[in-house]
Amino acid sequence: MRKKSGRRTNLVQPGEPPEPPGRRIFEFEFPAATEAKNETLEALLKALEDSGALAQEADLFPARLCLDEALINAVMHGSQYDSAKQVRVRAYSDGASWSVVIEDQGPGFKEEDLPDPDADENLLEESGRGVLLMRRFMGKLAYYRGGACVVMSRALTAPRTTSVRTRKGTLRVPLTRRVRDLEAILEITRAMAAETDLTRLLILLAKASSKVLQAERTSIWVVDPRTGELFTRVAEGTDGIRIPAGAGIVGAVAAAGEPLLIPDAYADARFNPAVDKKTGFTTREILCHPLKNADGARVVGVLQALNKSAPDGSAFDAYDQELAGVFAAQAGVVLEEAALREMAESQKRMQAEMDLARTIQQGLLPKSAPEIKGLDIAGATRPATECSGDYFDYVMLPGGALGALVADVTGHGLGAALIMTGARACVRSLCTAASDPAQVLSAANNMLAKDLDGGNFLSLCLTVLDPRDGTLRYSSAGHDPPLFYRPSAPDFMELDSTGPLLGIVENMAFHAAGPFKLQSGDVLLLMTDGLFECMNAAEETFGKERIKEILKLNRERNAQEILAALLAAADIWTGGQPPRDDITAVVVKVGDGF
């Protein structure tokens, strides 16, 4: 027969059990039957696991074994499988240990009735090992109410830790937590790779931050580059908020560019309780991390996590700050990318508008010269940028004379093109009423001077070719002199300026020169300085002498061919580089019968 335990260890006491420490996490009563006992065991283990009491792998086996043994004892020995009897189970957890109380309605037992576990002759006894196992696996095991109530408790196994290197030294972090966090970060990285919308990306980040940091709320603040104000780009639980530069904790973090961990917000003088008042939220802890641009030089925003709500009641710590840094880095990159994308988009829009403006401006240039007997005319403009400040035009004046003009607005690009468009409309409309070029320029100057602010002006040369008497007259508002070539003459003639630049001051005097009698073979070249000032690689200008040579060499050819020869020579001179200034030229060749 088995040897009974002679030893007394006060395992069984007569009195009532003490209330175990911690929060009650489970309470259940079940009839003393196998099925109900098995279900209760599983539910009890789940409750312990959910409370975090069985977080470590090493905790699982002892918990299951001892609770199993105790429940079997209550059902089998305590209640003799009498399902009319109830077994009551309670479980508690205080973060450092867990306890379970099991009460049955049986008579209890005496410690000396248990077999002595250390007696060799008891080794082969088939029963009586449950209490032994419980005593060894549990930190505390005690029976009360004469054995009808057992209280067992066990300390949580210290978690295995891993080292995390941070800028401020190495931290030890529970391995399970580290793995969980890295998994969450991996998950958010995957989700972010599939998302391109900035707002949705930041919402993803804020949610992941709240989850991993176990924060009640996360908001992402962005610095307004114009005012230095901070505004919420994404804020859980509130509408947009905007605060002045440097205000509150967020402002302090943006200004210093360093993370901040505030354990008690209301005790910190920098904390601004206005937002809490507005939202009804109560801020306790604040964890803030600056968002920086890609090279880390500039603070572009702040990530703010509020109130850690971990099941174990812990507060934000240095490791949380490190994790916040991971999300802040992601958010910083996302914002930077979005800003670059936006810039590229707006450049694309701008380019499209410039292209449109160019198309419109090109449409304003004459497609061909009017047909006038004895006159051969060709013109072209090459803008330095998309839009040109140069233009040329042909207008029919009252009385049947042809006006051919070239103009050059200061500068080039879109602004010059806008002025050119206005000048063109102005000159065109004036030419319907006046045939005197000086009168046209004088009136145009008055109109343009009113519109232009003084910093902008244009030069313009209007030549009038009159088929009625075969003459040339002109008026030039500060324009580079057109070249007049008569093959029989010893030298070129230059059509000097006869008045000031247009658009500077009103009521200026403009004069007309001429009439000059034209002959067959005469060549007139109107141009802008872009033509003769274009440079080669050695920074030498093309020059008027070369232009004169080309005109001489090509004097037998028609206007289109002469123009082509000029532009080709200029191209060769510049080595095919795009022109730095707009180039415009109009060639008029006088033939027989003019």
Binding site: T34, L65, E126
Partner: protein, 167 residues
């Protein structure tokens, strides 16, 4: 049962596998097993492999032996191997078992006692650390040899000269 050809000395002989399913179950229960024929038969809880030198390797297939009915069924099956099949050189393979309670230990002890009565031996192998701890606390490891793997457990029978038991 046909007599197997004598193996060349030292040559490995394939083990006989007896699963407690259909035919094999019939064979095992021919000595008067209490398993009902047909009907709602529970799936086998153990698997038996008889090695050439009559060492029976018994593998428990339940990872967690929880329910009392299961526990008793496994205990009965194991005991039948000794009392009805005379498998007294037994290796109990616990490699699949992640959890057991003292109710299971009771059956191991009953099995051990039955084998010892027949002058045989019971060895354990592939015991998880936490279950090893149970054997240590209850001092059952003093009686039952625990081997890390199946091969060393089976070979332990050869070394100790159990050849005289071969039929």
């Amino acid at each position: 049962m046909p007599t197997p050809a004598m193996p060349a000395p030292g040559a490995p002989q394939p083990p006989r596998k007896i699963s407690l399913g259909e035919g094999a179950a019939g064979m095992l229960s021919s000595g008067g097993g209490g398993r009902p024929a047909g009907g709602s038969r529970v799936p086998p809880k153990i698997q038996v492999m008889v090695q050439p030198d009559q060492v029976a390797v018994v593998t428990i297939l339940d990872s967690a032996i929880l329910d009392e009915n299961n526990i008793n069924e496994i205990g009965r099956q194991m005991l039948d191997l000794v009392t009805k099949q005379y498998m007294v050189k037994m290796v109990l393979d616990l490699g699949e078992v992640k959890y057991l309670s003292s109710a299971v230990l009771r059956h191991f002890i009953a099995l051990y006692k039955a084998i010892k009565t027949e002058k045989g031996d019971l060895k354990l192998c592939r015991v998880r650390p936490e279950i090893r701890e149970v054997f240590k606390i209850t001092q059952l490891d003093k009686m039952m040899e625990i081997h890390p793997d199946l091969v060393s457990a089976v070979n332990a029978f050869k070394k100790k000269g159990w050849g005289f038991l071969q039929r």
